[in-house]
């Protein structure tokens, strides 16, 4: 009897070993490319370092500089506004399109739509941003050309503090909404059809079915999308970098652009690392809050 248990435990140990062996490459990558640089940037934040001459230890001076920085508040403000708008648009549009695609239709048509929406997601963000700079051109861009038929005057999409954030949002949503559609669709198709059939028998309308069945059972999907999109949207970089270079002024300067500017334009690795750490702390807190709040609104089937 005890011999049998031993074998069972041995097997279990061997299985565990295999499992760890499988996750080891990811774990090593995580250590080298995530944890290592994170710790390094914390150390660098205590130094004055221009890359070219040896770093100089300056204690918490960089952190003090944060409080004297007149621009960082504006830049965080811009980042949050952009992130909020992008996430709201992606979530609502993604959900709406997923609902439309979840209706009865030929699988050919559904796959066509799925591919169409998802396609921009796999294209490089830089390439997309370059294409959008042409689309947004004030006098030669197709966007203003077609808006002209509606009587809209030429809009300086990339050179106005009013419109340039929208230019960034539109380009980002166009690129990423397909991912949301696909994940939402996956979530919806995992919901048991019996629930809808039962609801129909009880006389529930389509809206009631969506409100009472689809939405609650999609909540884990939503949690996943919210958490990942908050993290992603707060780190948005290439679209504003290429479309507007953060401008005009700081109208589209996100925090990552700001970090980049200090690190790779002004040769101030110490201060760039310090700002990066504030972003890390903010994302950490926001994610923790989301998980805490999720207990109230996320239902698992």
């Amino acid at each position: 009897m005890s011999e049998k248990i031993m074998t069972y435990q041995g097997m279990k140990r061997r299985e565990m070993f295999t499992a760890y062996a499988f996750i080891l490459p990811t774990f090593i990558g995580f250590l080298i490319f995530i944890v290592g640089p994170m710790l390094a940037s914390f150390v660098v934040s205590l130094f004055d370092w221009n890359l070219l001459t040896p770093p100089k230890f300056i204690g918490l001076d960089n952190y003090q500089q944060l409080f004297a920085d007149r621009r960082i508040g504006t830049v965080y403000g811009t980042t949050f506004k952009l992130a909020f708008t992008i996430i709201t648009c992606n979530m609502s549009l993604g959900l709406g399109l997923a609902v439309l695609l979840d209706r009865k239709m030929s699988s050919v048509l559904r796959n066509f739509f799925k591919v169409s929406y998802f396609f921009p997601y796999v294209v490089s963000g830089v390439a997309i941003a370059i294409i959008w700079t042409f689309l947004y051109n004030r006098d030669l861009g197709p966007l203003n050309y077609y808006l002209g038929f509606l009587g809209v005057e030429r809009i300086p999409w990339l050179n106005s503090s009013t419109y340039s954030p929208w230019a960034v949002v539109i380009a980002d949503v166009w690129k990423n909404v397909g991912f949301y559609v696909l994940v939402f669709l996956g979530g919806m198709q995992a919901i048991s059809r019996e629930l809808y059939e039962a609801a129909e028998v009880d006389g529930a309308t389509a809206w009631q079915q969506f409100r009472r069945i689809t939405l609650p059972l999609l909540s884990p999907t939503m949690l996943f999308l919210t958490v990942t999109s908050v993290i992603g949207a707060l780190q948005i970089f290439e679209q504003p970098q290429i479309l507007t270079n953060g401008g005009p002024g700081d109208a589209t300067r996100t925090i990552v652009l700001y970090i980049y500017e200090h690190g790779f334009r002004f040769f101030d690795m110490g201060y760039a690392s310090t700002i990066a750490i504030t972003l890390f702390v903010i994302i950490l807190i926001l994610t923790a809050i989301q998980f805490r709040l999720s207990r109230r609104w996320v239902f698992y089937q």
């Binding site: 890359l51 050179n159 005009p248 334009r265």
Partner: protein
């Protein structure tokens, strides 16, 4: 006896030759050196490779490794170089322009060339005589010379002769003023398709970057920082007036397109949609490629001072270089007329595309190509020129200044407010404390 005497002779000669060879080898620099350059056009690398190949015909014992640092703007290049040095690379020679000179020198990274020059004074005399003092002065910090000038640019006005002819205008005079310029620009602006919006512009291309904005400031006989680089000077009424003029060209006089309007000034100049634009000699490359010759250049319009901006590039040696003799040999070779002649034919010759050679004698060869008034390139040095404003923290200065100029050009901030805000931010960047 004869035979052994012959043997002895051969032996003696052989030994003598060996000794001479060894001494010779000691004298002639050899070994490996690494040269860092800005890899910003498709022709750049092959241009430098060509120079290195010709250098190796004379100095086969020196191997020159090329490291091209990519980047679209000046700051990218400097940063890429910093990153590779931080990554453990120890380059010997760098190609650098005015904007990065004080940055590199103030960090004690560059070798003062004075001692090396003193050792080779005679050989170099011809180079120094042929190179304008304004070039050399731009590479001097605290009386030491840190780089040997290779090529340079000044800002001039390019004008499309066909468009001037069509409008019945005289070509710009050498002593024209900003008022003359504005008059011409107004006459050259038109709404050709009658949709109520101008589609042909008198001028395009100021604002957006420092090099394109500063000539208007210099023409007002002022600068955006004090002469000693110790304080910002952007709230000077003369600076404000210059920026206001750039703004007004778009919004008041409506002779220039709003930012975000044009995709490529040079192409639109060739197409007859833009009559004038400001640029350095680099712009001739595009026109050469497009086979467009109906253009000429004029000095920057005075207000009232006829003054324009210039910037120089050249080669320097890193203090950390492990092979200064070979590096110095390469630097001297790169300063030769033979190498600079490559700049004249511009398009096929490599980097930096179409700049003005630093040597006056080589610059005279520009007469073979358009524009007709090519002498406004080198000749500007005989008049009033000002070096592009490049304090040690140039990148930050440009970033702050242009960020506020952008807001002015988007018509979202008054020039006074923008420059006041810029001044506040610049206080910590342009300072001698």
């Amino acid at each position: 006896m004869v035979k052994s005497g012959f043997k002895l002779l051969v032996l003696t000669i052989s030994i003598a030759l060996l000794i001479v060879g060894a001494v010779g080898a000691q004298d002639a620099p050899s070994g490996e050196i690494t040269f860092v350059f800005w890899d910003n056009t498709t022709e750049t690398r092959s241009g430098w490779e060509g120079h290195v190949a010709r250098f190796n015909e004379q100095y086969p014992d020196i191997t020159v490794n090329l490291i091209g640092v990519p980047g679209t703007i000046w700051a990218d290049y400097l940063n890429g170089t910093a990153t590779l040095i931080a990554g453990g690379e120890t380059p010997d020679i760098i190609w650098v322009a005015t904007e990065g000179v004080r940055f590199l020198v103030d960090l004690d990274l560059m070798l003062p060339l004075d001692d090396l020059i003193a050792e080779n004074e005679e050989a170099l005399q011809e180079y120094f005589d042929d190179t304008a003092p304004a070039m050399l002065d731009s590479f001097r910090v605290d009386d030491s010379l840190y780089f040997l000038p290779y090529s340079w640019n000044n800002m001039v006005i390019y004008y499309n002769r066909n468009m001037f002819d069509a409008a019945g205008l005289d070509y710009p005079a050498d002593d024209w003023t900003r008022d003359d310029f504005l008059e011409a620009a107004t006459a050259l602006t038109a709404d050709t398709n009658g949709d109520g919006l101008n589609d042909q512009f008198g001028f395009s291309g100021s604002g957006g970057s420092m090099f394109f904005t500063l000539p208007w400031v210099f023409a007002n006989d002022t600068n955006i920082v004090t002469e000693d680089f110790c304080a910002p000077n952007v709230t000077d009424p003369a600076v404000i007036e210059a920026i206001q003029f750039i703004h007004d060209m778009v919004y008041e006089y409506e002779v220039a397109p709003a930012p975000g309007t044009l995709t490529n000034t040079e192409i639109q100049f060739i197409n007859g949609e833009v009559a004038m634009f400001g640029a350095g000699r680099w712009a001739t490359g595009g026109m050469y490629r497009e086979d467009f010759t109906d253009y000429d250049i004029a000095p920057w319009p005075g207000n009232p001072n006829q003054k324009t901006e210039y910037g120089v590039d050249g080669f320097g040696i890193f203090q950390s270089s492990q092979n200064i003799p070979a590096s110095w040999t390469f630097l001297q070779y790169m300063s030769s007329a033979e190498v600079q002649e490559g700049l004249v034919a511009s398009v096929d010759s490599g980097s930096p595309l179409g700049n003005i050679p630093a040597r006056r004698s080589v610059a005279d060869m520009l007469s073979q190509f358009p524009p007709d008034h090519y002498q406004h390139f080198y000749g500007s040095l005989d008049g009033n020129v000002e070096l592009v404003t490049s304090p040690p923290r140039f990148n930050e200065l440009e970033s702050i200044f242009i960020r506020y100029v952008d807001l002015v050009m988007a018509d979202e901030m008054t020039v006074e407010d923008a420059m006041a805000a810029a001044e506040t931010e610049l206080l910590s960047v342009v300072s001698c404390d």
